[in-house]
Amino acid sequence: MFSAFKKRGAFLALLFSFALVAAACAEDEPAATSTAAPATTAAAPTTAAPTTAAPTTAAPTTLPPPAPGREVAACQVSDTGGIDDASFNASAWAGAQRAEAELEGVSIAFLESTDAADYRPNIDAFIAEGCDVILTIGFLLANDTAAAAADNPNQLFAIVDQSPGPFPPWADADGNMLSDYANLRGLTFQTDEAAFLAGYMAAGASETGVVGTFGGLPIPPVTIFMDGFVRGVDYYNTVKDASVVALGYDVESGEGQFTNNFDSLDDGRSFAETLVNNGADIVLPVAGPVGLGSAALCQDTGACLIVGVDADWNATAAEFSDVILTSILKNIDISIFNTINNVLVLESLGNPFNGTLANGGVGLAALQDNADRVSSELAQEVADLNDAIVAAGSLAEFLASMADA
């Protein structure tokens, strides 16, 4: 067969043209992740990173060194956004890459899911491979993660955006837990705290007096962004006696604009266009890579600015930095790094992780190209608001204390 190859020069050329196309495609991928990786790591406020991020317990602030020769294989299952989505999965992967680089004995691997039917096979493939901890990225994997964790009580898991509780998929309809889930760590984020700051800043920076948001799916980890953002706008109106309108989400009913996917850039463009046509000049797309379509619209028309989500889009989507106001940071990378570190050093998962403004799990990214849209007074007010929420303990308590006052 291979002797036939040699004689067929023309066919060999065809093969190579196939191969070169494939090579070009394959080279894209590592390039995309490697640009995303240092950027998100740099964007994370590493000084604030807790070593064991359980705010409620007195965990040691410095961990003992790991047992010599101990090795940990950390394996990430991404959702359908893909590992290079410039947001959610990329941020998690950046945390895993940082763990591999900084911690001795850590090896990492990932599997991308192209659809919901892939979640469980991907998890099972990693269980069969002997991974020490399996990191499932996102709320959409909760059903399959819960089932896999109950089926394999000796396999360690961590899941982003869910913490086991007396509700499905962790419990049956009557609230009876299906397992104790001692082998699973929830990694959750009080994203509404940072989104509240972004909403306040956007309301102050808007020139039309209208801002807008839309989401990928009406699930809690998405709506918490929209909820905090709209509450931030409302708070601005209360404090300043202004009337900035926030489109796209209703805090009372929980209804709003949703693309129903996390991958269509066309949807990102058309949803943003609708908001802009209704007067919005600042848009918060909470749908991972879908928001890049919105950013492209803003860049083409010059009619809007974007508030990025999950990672600092000035770094992960630098080609759009001229239309990015700020980004709501959800430092999944910190929680992932922390989880891998715990498994390596403590040989256990540690307490549930809940990222807040106080522990650096969430935050606002630094202003860059559009810093001139935010006056120094506004920036100061946002910083004061940050301190006030940290002092109050949570956004809910802060709002309650403001309502009392």
């Binding site: 691997a109 659809d115 099972d124 493939a125 996917n261």
Partner: protein, 409 residues
């Protein structure tokens, strides 16, 4: 509508007279009842698979980034070694252990059913691109039954199969009816019906009927345990053996379709319409009704494929649970030359590639996207037997017949 055409599939009588019929051929002919030259029928697909795997090895080697950073003979050796271990992982991940075989079979079940759906369309001269949408509709019918009805498993599973068949069958039948009544080409209508089905699923999953309490996103309640397809290896009490009753359903369906196509009157009429609709009409067959029933049957098969996704693996519906299987089914039907036996073999191959591809990515970091490349290459080589002849210096016997009538015919 068109000028009469020659039958696209001529049984290989010429070949038979040229070569004495081997025992193998005789055995296969007895087994299947179809009189074809099995050596030439199998030669092109097998060589196409070998060629596709060979090209993908070259792709793995050439796309090795380390090789391009600094070219050396040892780097080339590493790259070739990696390609070798990727192929080995592809094999062990699909056939290397009980869990691997189980995974292969679990992936194969919906592929075979959807492949049969496309194949029966090809046999009747219809190009069913709509298996994806028909899977969604069949699966949704199964979910609707599964969340409302809880009767013993030996009744509930057949009910799910019938419900899914009706759900998918109606969706396929719409395209058949449009073709028969208005002449709207099924390629167009089935593609459009895919989009409609995809959005309809999102809408349905947002209604109170399907949505579980406390959820706002499009996802359904879990189906009743009695509606789940039983795990075939459940008695081993291992949760990594996913193979379920769906593979049995798929094989039974393959035999049933074989019987319908080659042993029944209606199957003869299907094939007659595929050969030449005008001649079939002239012979007194109701072509209009045949189009509807072929598309209805094709939709029903795809609907069962959707049901195996829901009742066999996921136990609940979320958007896109058809997972692109309806599109893989088109290449699969081409590879299987639209024969039920060929579709089963091709379904096992694609299922093995899916199962092995996972292990390949985990073990060697070769992305699972390569599986799509292999599948595409197989189809390219199948569609261009001249290429196979040139590479392997063999006679491939009969060209594959025309599989479907073209545009506007």
């Amino acid at each position: 509508m068109t000028e009469p055409q020659l039958p696209p599939e001529t049984p290989a009588e010429d070949n038979e007279s040229a070569e004495p019929e081997s025992r193998w051929t005789a055995f296969m002919n007895d087994l299947t009842g179809v009189n074809v030259d099995w050596r030439s029928a199998l030669l092109v697909p097998v060589l196409a698979i070998i060629a596709a795997l060979a090209v993908s090895v070259v792709i793995i080697v050439v796309s090795d980034i380390e090789l391009w950073r600094e070219f050396s003979l040892s780097a080339l050796g590493d790259a070739i070694g990696q390609a070798g271990s990727a192929m080995w992982a592809l094999f062990t991940g699909s056939f290397g252990s009980l869990a691997a075989v189980s995974s292969t079979l679990a992936f194969s079940a919906p592929l075979i059913l959807a492949g049969l759906s496309v194949a029966i369309g090809f046999k009747a001269g219809l190009f069913n691109i709509g298996a994806e949408g028909q899977m969604l509709m069949g699966g949704m019918a199964a979910v609707a039954l599964g969340i409302t009805i809880d009767i013993p498993v030996f009744l509930n599973v057949p009910l799910a199969v019938i419900g899914a068949m009706i759900g998918g069958g109606i969706w396929g039948g719409i395209a058949g009816l449009l073709r028969a009544r208005t002449g709207a080409h099924e390629v167009i209508t089935t593609i459009m019906l895919n989009s409609i089905a995809g959005l309809a699923v999102i809408w349905m999953l947002s209604t109170d009927f399907f949505q579980p309490e406390g959820r706002q996103d499009p996802v359904s309640e879990d189906i009743a345990v009695s509606a789940r397809l039983p795990r075939l290896l459940g008695f081993l009490d291992r949760n990594d053996l996913r193979v379920h009753f769906g593979i049995v359903v798929a094989l039974l369906a393959a035999y049933a379709i074989y019987w319908v196509l080659f042993k029944s009157t209606i199957g003869f009429e299907f094939r007659a319409v595929g050969f030449n609709p005008d001649a079939a009409h002239y012979a007194g067959m109701k072509v209009t009704w045949l189009y509807v029933s072929v598309m209805g049957l094709a939709g029903g098969l795809a609907g069962i494929a959707g049901m195996t996704q829901i009742n066999g693996l996921l136990y609940r519906a979320s958007p896109g649970f058809a997972a692109g299987i309806g599109f893989d089914a088109i290449s699969l039907a081409l590879l299987g030359r639209s024969h039920p036996a060929g579709v089963v073999a091709a379904g096992f191959l694609f299922g093995a590639l899916r199962a092995g591809g996972l292990d390949m990515q985990v073990a060697t970091d070769v992305p699972i996207d390569l599986i799509g490349v292999i599948q595409a290459l197989v189809v390219v080589f199948i569609a261009a037997p001249a290429l196979i002849r040139a590479i392997f210096r063999v006679k491939t016997g009969e060209e594959i017949g025309q599989l479907t009538t073209g545009w506007g015919t």
